[in-house]
């Protein structure tokens, strides 16, 4: 099993999450979504909230995007294909939009034929709590999470993403 390189951004993420100067448990170098500092629970298009941690046990892609972000829309095209191929094998996507307008968000979901969970925090895009929590400074940004909840890679797209998803599903 190939160990994906933990990019420095992840170290930064740990720093961001460790705002309260609490140290990560000894021996745990990889961020895990069970960490209370990485909790995400946001409303979907109908207002119902689903947490990221509820997906533990699956291979999850935490995907930050917005309807007005053209590179994000291009990435959606490929992600839709990967999702339909591996969804029944245990792959899920937790999509977080930085859209400020509900209608723009809903329109894009329909246009891009997105069927995975989409959530959104109300308020200012870059200043959203979830964006600060995950140190989002640009979109698209995505985090690939294994069945144990470990964040193992960032910003994989298309073929690289598919390859990684396939391998993680076999673990």
């Amino acid at each position: 099993m190939k160990i994906y390189q933990i990019i420095t951004s992840l170290a930064l993420l740990l720093q961001v999450a460790a705002v309260n100067a609490q140290q990560a448990p000894r021996g745990q170098e990889v961020p895990n979504i069970a960490d209370p500092r990485l909790q995400v629970k946001l409303p979907d298009v109908n207002g119902d909230s689903l947490s990221l941690i509820s997906y533990k046990g699956k291979v999850v892609l935490l995907d930050f995007w917005a309807s007005w972000c053209m590179p994000c829309r291009a990435a959606n095209k490929k992600l839709v294909k990967i999702y339909s191929k591996y969804k029944d094998k245990g792959f899920e996507v937790y999509g977080v939009s930085l859209d400020e307008e509900q209608k723009d968000w809903v329109k894009a979901i329909a246009k891009d034929k997105i069927t995975w969970l989409q959530v959104r925090e109300h308020g200012n895009a870059w200043e959203a709590k979830v964006a600060q929590q995950w140190a989002i400074s640009a979109i698209p940004t995505s985090f690939l999470i294994n069945k144990k909840g470990d964040i193992v890679a960032m910003n994989l797209e298309s073929d690289e993403l598919e390859k990684a998803v396939k391998e993680l599903l076999e673990e």
Partner: protein, 181 residues
């Protein structure tokens, strides 16, 4: 006659001295999606004379509000955008509270900076008038070529006062911003 013009010029400078921009709209360009990145917001926000920056997705621009009583520095704004990895596509300044009379090739001091008006005709500025900076690297190369032809003064090429501007009382080599409406 010359004395009268000098008096008029001094009066204009005096009138302009109290004026300052309150807002700006900035369009950025680059190889990657400028709005998809928080870098420009952060870079502009770090400037001491900027109070707030808000992304305007629909217009692909940034609405900037200046701090009251602080000198607005367009060069600093351009540098912030460039350091973030992008370029200025357009920078418009407005919110100038006092009415100002301007005309072609008139040099007006707003805040502590000199603004050279190009292709505007004789008119009055008010708080809603948007002034677009037309110096190199504040607009596209193509646009610059076109508009720089509207003045015969050399300063538009250098962004600094040359012998062309010293007649208007501007010290040689002082930074001169070129603007149109």
């Amino acid at each position: 006659m010359k004395k009268l013009m000098m008096l008029g010029m001094v009066c204009l400078m005096a009138l302009a001295a109290g004026a300052q921009f309150t807002k700006a709209e900035l369009h950025a360009t680059g190889l990657t999606c400028a709005m998809c990145n928080n870098a420009i917001n952060k870079a502009l926000q770090a400037l001491p004379f900027i109070q707030s920056v808000k992304s305007d997705i629909k217009n692909s621009s940034f609405h900037v509000v200046f701090r009251d009583g602080q000198e607005v520095n367009p060069d600093a704004m351009k540098k912030a955008v460039e350091d973030a990895g992008f370029s200025v596509g357009k920078l418009e300044l407005y919110g100038n509270e006092q009415p100002l009379s301007v005309g072609d090739d008139k040099h007006v001091t707003i805040g502590k900076s000199v603004y050279h008006f190009v292709n505007v005709g004789d008119r009055q500025l008010n708080a809603d008038t948007k002034l677009m900076i037309i110096d190199k690297d504040f607009i596209s190369h193509k646009q610059f070529k076109k508009i720089s032809a509207s003045t015969k003064m050399d300063c538009i090429q250098t962004g600094k006062a040359g012998s062309c501007c010293t007649d208007a009382g501007v010290p040689e080599n002082a930074r001169v911003y070129h603007v149109t409406i």
